[in-house]
Structure formats: C-alpha cells, structure tokens
C-alpha cells in the first residue's frame, strides 16, 4: 500500500495485470525502453521482456490495427497513443474494426483490447497536445470509453478495462497525472465499468463531470457549502455505455443539473447527458440544465489555455444560476 499519482496507478495496474495474465501485452511509441513519454509504462519491459512490451514504429493506424489483429488471436493488447491528438489516424481501425469485430463475426472473433491515451489541456504542451475529443468515441457503438479521475479509479478501472472482453478506450487526464496522490492498494481489485461514481452526496444540485475537472468540481461543491448549497458530485467515469440510471436518480432527487467538461460544448458528451435528463428526468427538473464547458473552438496554445479551461468560478456561477430559478 503506497501513495501514488494517477500515472503511477496506471503503471501499477499494467504491471499487475501483465503478471496475472500473460496474454496482456503493452505496445506503442516509446513505451518500452523509454517507459512512455509520461512514464506510464516504465519498468514493464525490464520486467516482462521485449516480447510483451513493444516499441512500435511511428504509425497510429498501424498501432490501432495491429492491436486488433493481436486481439483476434486472444491476446489482450494495451496500446498507447502518445497523446489523444494523435489518435485520429487510428480512427478507421477503431471505428470500423475494433468496435465491430465481435458484431461482424457474430462473436466468433473479438477485440479484448485497451487503447490508452493521455488527454486534455493545461500542461503547456505544443498545439495538438491538448485534445479532449472523447465525444467522438463515445458515439461509437461497441466501444467503451472510460476516464479515470483519481489514482484509485485509474487503477481499478484500468484493470477492468484490460479484463473486459470488448474494446475500451481509456483516456487519462494528463493534467492530473501527478497533481494528486492517493493510497492505492495493489490488490488486483477492479472497479466496475458502465457505472458512474457518486463522489459526494447532496440535495440541491447535481454536478456531473469526469476526468481532470472532477477536482475543480469537487472544489466548487465544497465552496458552495458556504453559500448553503448542497451539491451532489458525480464522476461519470464510463462515457459510453452511459450509466443513465445513476444520473437520472440523482437529478430526480436534486431537480437541478450542471454538467462540466473540458471539451468544446457543441456535441460534447455533456450534450448526451443533458438530452438524457431532458427526456427522462423532465418532470423533476426545476431549472434548465446548464453546461460548463470549453468554448466551441480549438484549444488555444498555452498563453491562452487558461481562458479556455472551465474553472471553479465558472462552476459556481452556473450553480448560482440554476439555483436562482
């Protein structure tokens, strides 16, 4: 039992599952000798050998597609895209094959694989390194999209993702890779997929979020207590398939919802959540559903990225709005 960061928890889960199950292989650009540009795979090559920890050539369609071929053979590849901004070349393989192999072959072949990618902005990286386009993937039937927001959930959800018999896109909020530590017991216990996590109970409003912004949202909830507002905070965690149940129950109780995400607003995953609530919690809603999100533009380079990112004040402001009604 140790205090670890989120990226260390990823590393723990990978090592644990590679030790548990020798069909698990790790692959990607710079994952072996270098241990990954964020050190998520450090030590794995030394421990499990070069046959199970594979440095690939620089080609994302290839990485996505090679993992598929391996998976049809019963391996469980965990393939890394170095940054989410470089996943798009792999899109055809992910959408047209990984997410469909089971369906296309009526269960004869399947893709028990995990695609990992660090995502989100705020780390002073160059352009194309700050993407939050989880919505593109959450719309793909057959693909699970999972986002951890703490070291414990990173550990438990990654184990679940690797063990899942179907493909999972595992998006790691790199802004909080090292921002917080938590005690993680390396006991091989997975957390459930397809489930939201209620991080804080409350009566007046439901704050719904995922990834790095869970921190800001919890902070906002704490600050709102001072104003006499009791906010429930839900970490969605699995963006698809969505645990609508938990979200609907909470909003039915509180009557108000604020959805927080870093991706640009239009067509973000927040839209699906709002639409679900507008359809299924309608009669209990006491105020409009408000989204606190990035702007509908490209994430600016770093001099202006703070102006793009939603912050604690924006969340509080939105809650004040919906509470006023």
């Amino acid at each position: 039992m140790t205090d670890v960061t989120l990226v260390e928890a990823v590393n723990l889960a990978l090592a644990r599952e590679m030790a548990n199950d020798d069909t698990v292989v790790v692959m990607g650009e710079d994952v072996a000798t270098n241990g990954g540009v964020f050190r998520a795979t450090v030590g794995l090559k030394e421990r499990f050998g070069y046959k199970r920890v594979l440095d690939t050539p620089l080609a994302e369609a290839l990485i996505a597609g090679t993992a598929i071929g391996m998976a049809t053979q019963g391996l469980r590849p965990v393939a890394e895209f170095q940054f989410m901004g470089f996943i798009y070349a792999g899109m055809e393989q992910i959408v047209s094959h990984a997410a469909r192999m089971r369906n296309r072959t009526r269960g004869r072949l399947s893709c028990p694989l995990v695609y990992r990618a660090p995502f989100g902005g705020g780390i002073h990286a160059p352009e194309h390194h700050s993407e939050s386009t989880e919505a593109l993937f959450a719309h793909i039937p057959g693909l699970r999209v999972v986002v951890p927001s703490s070291p414990q959930r990173a550990y438990g959800l990654l184990l679940a993702a690797i063990r899942d018999p179907d493909p999972v896109l595992f998006l790691e909020p790199k802004r909080i890779y090292r921002a917080l530590t938590q005690t993680v017991e390396d006991d091989g216990e997975a957390l459930p997929l397809d489930t939201c996590f209620t991080l804080r109970e409350g009566d007046d409003v439901t704050l719904i979020t995922w990834g790095a912004l869970v921190q800001e949202t919890l902070q906002a909830a704490r600050e709102l207590t001072g104003q006499g507002v009791s906010a429930e905070v839900i970490d969605v965690a699995t963006l698809n398939p969505l645990d609508r149940e938990t979200l609907i129950c909470s909003v039915t109780k509180t009557g108000r919802a604020v959805i927080v995400h870093e991706a640009c607003r239009s067509g973000g995953v927040g839209a699906e959540i709002a639409a679900t609530l507008a359809e299924q919690a309608f009669l209990d809603l006491q105020a409009p559903i408000v989204r606190v999100t990035g702007f509908d533009t490209v994430m600016p380079y770093y001099r202006n990225e703070q102006a793009y990112l939603p912050g604690v004040a924006d969340i509080i402001h939105a809650v004040e709005q919906v509470i006023a009604l």
Partner: protein, 361 residues
C-alpha cells in the same frame, strides 16, 4: 553510408498463355492430385460467382464483387496455407476461402446481407472480409505478431488489390512486418483496376511488388494466372516466413474480368479490346489446357465437374435462401460480450418492434 544500394524484384513464370510449360515445372507439379483439386476449386469458385451475380440481378443478394480473374490466385493461397495458418482475405478471395473451410452458404449469407456469413464454422481464426480497403493489412501483422510473441510457427497470408497499395495501412503494415520480421506474406492481386482507376494512375511505380523495398522486404512478381508460378512463389514465401526469416510480398498479375461489383458498369471506363485480350490469358481455362496437355483431363471429367459444382452451389443457394433473417434483437445482442444495462431498454424496444411487424422484417 555506401556509394550505392541496389534492390531487385524478380519474376519467374512456368506456363505460357495457353498453359504450355515454359520451363521445368516446380516440384509441386508432380503432385497431380493437388493440381487436379486446384482446378476443381477454380471451377467451383467460378460457378458460385456466376450464381451469386445472378442472385443479385434477381434481387436475392446485395451488391457483390465478382471473383472472375482471381480464381487461380485464391486457389493457390488456399492450397499453400496450413489449416493452422490464418488467412486475412480481401473481397475477391472466395477461391481461397472455400479451401479454408468457409462454406458456400456462409459466403452467400455475407453478400446477401447477413452477419452470420462471417461466423465461419470451420476456420475459426480466419478474418472476415475487410471492406475498408487495406485495413486488413494491420490485422495481418497483428495476428503475425501474436504468433511471434507465442513462438508459434504459423503464417499469415494477407491479400490486397492493386488499389490498396496506395493506402497507408498497407504501407505501414509492410514496414512493421519488416521491422519485426513477422511471419506474414502479402499478396497483391493486381487486376489492373481499382473500380475505374487504372493501374497507371494508382502509382508511378513500375511494379507494385517494389513497394516492398521501402519496408526492407523481398518481393517477387508473378503471373497470377499461372498456377505454378503463383503456387511456387507462395510456397517459398510461406516456407521462409514459417522458418522465422520474415515477411515477403508477392505481386500476382491478373485482370478483373468482371465489373467492379454488380453496382458497376465497366464499359464506361474500359476498353473492350483490353478485356478481350485478358480473357485470352485467363487462368482457369489455362489450367484446364495444362491438364489436357498433361493427359490429366478430359471432356467427360469436365462435364462431371461442372455438374458437381452446379449441384454444390445449388444446394448452398437453397440453404441460403431458406435461412430466415436473424431477429432484429441480434443487432444489439452481438455488440458486446454481455449486454450493458444501458442497452437493455433499446433491446426491449427492438423486441417489441419485432413482435409487431411479425414476418414483415
């Protein structure tokens, strides 16, 4: 750095256009049963092909890509692979798939719009046909990687068309196969056309085979209608791969004798003369001529074979036509290993629709 680096693509042929041996035939030619069963498979594949086109014309099948002109290559692939190898086919590989164990009915179901056509009862590890061009190449190197990781002496054969050689997936996969010395053989079935795009517009390269050079892979070019040439090249490449010596590329020259698919009309863009010339060189007839010359064939045998193929195809068609469509709920049930709670409601909705519409669907 050296002053110069030299690379070669070589070629070896055995039969002329009429099926006369040009050179000493490779050893496999002495296995007459093999050659005879190759020919039988070519005819079976062609019979199925004609029938499928007819089914499409009469509304009993979806858009379908004919295999005409690819029967020899496919047959050679099917024969050269071991059962434990894996075939990563493209959509003109029916002749190979038959030999792998895909049933004629499965093939009809697939093109007839039924997912169960890729459930392959008899070759559990072969990949289904990949419609998005060249994407299967990445799967092929993935399968081959699994073999390497597990130290298995198994080989992957992966087919693509000439058009597919332009797409990144093909080129990236070749590169990985070279970098990782994977047990995979890429077969470029160069039929001179990618729908309406002629070979010359597809690439400025003199051959397609030379695309292997950039990946550090050896390549050969063969006449894909010369059964011995393609079989010989495949045997060498597969033996090499199985021995752990790495991947290679075979360019098999042929000609797409039919339209691109049943939705295409190739008279819009290609010359009748060119097509006629290609028919004169095609491989099924050529193989038959060879067998005749070798004293292995007769008109009676041909008649019997045709009748046999027809009856096999007819019963496959009958089985296909009487297979009822899956229940619509299958579209949800097949997506994940276990139904996520989120999809339960939609599944129920589908089940209700199904009840309501009855036989209508």
């Amino acid at each position: 750095m050296k002053d110069r680096y030299d690379f070669t693509v070589s070629s070896r042929g055995f039969l002329d256009d009429q099926g006369h041996p040009l050179n000493d035939l490779p050893a496999l030619a002495s296995d007459t049963e093999r050659v005879l069963s190759a020919y039988r498979n070519m005819v079976l594949s062609r019979t199925l092909d004609n029938k499928t086109i007819a089914l499409q014309r009469t509304g009993h099948c979806g858009t379908y890509p004919s295999v005409l002109g690819h029967e020899v290559i496919g047959t050679a692939i099917g024969q050269c692979l071991d059962p434990t190898d894996v075939l990563v086919p493209y959509y003109r590989d029916q002749a190979a798939q038959i030999l792998r164990g895909v049933s004629l009915t499965e093939m009809l179901l697939y093109w007839g719009g039924d997912e169960r056509g890729s459930a392959f009862e008899h070759c559990a590890e072969d990949l289904p046909v990949a419609v998005p061009i060249a994407t299967q190449c990445c799967h092929a190197v993935g399968v081959a990687s699994a073999f390497r990781i597990r130290n298995q002496h198994r080989v992957v054969a992966c087919s693509v068309g000439d058009g597919a050689t332009s797409k990144g997936d093909f080129l990236e996969s070749l590169n990985l196969a070279g970098a990782w010395q994977l047990p995979v053989v890429f077969i470029i079935q160069n039929n001179q056309w990618a729908i309406s795009t002629p070979r010359r517009l597809q690439s400025g390269s003199e051959t397609m085979a030379q695309k292997a050079i950039g990946a550090g892979l050896p390549a050969v070019i063969v006449d894909g209608n010369d059964y011995f040439a393609i079989s010989d090249a495949l045997t060498r490449a597969i033996t090499r791969a199985r021995a752990g010596k790495g991947a290679s590329v075979i360019e098999a020259l042929t000609y797409r004798l039919g339209d691109h698919t049943t939705a295409d009309d190739s008279t819009r863009y290609r010359d009748a003369e060119e097509l006629k010339a290609a028919w004169a060189r095609e491989g099924v007839k050529r193989t038959q001529s060879y067998l005749h010359q070798a004293g292995l064939w007769s008109a009676t045998r041909e008649q019997r074979l045709q009748a046999d193929c027809k009856s096999r195809v007819d019963s496959a068609v009958a089985a296909y036509l009487k297979t009822p469509p899956e229940p619509p709920t299958a579209m949800i049930d097949s997506l994940f290993a276990t139904l996520p709670p989120a999809l339960q409601a939609q599944r129920e909705q589908l089940a209700r629709t199904q009840e309501k519409s009855g036989g209508d669907l």
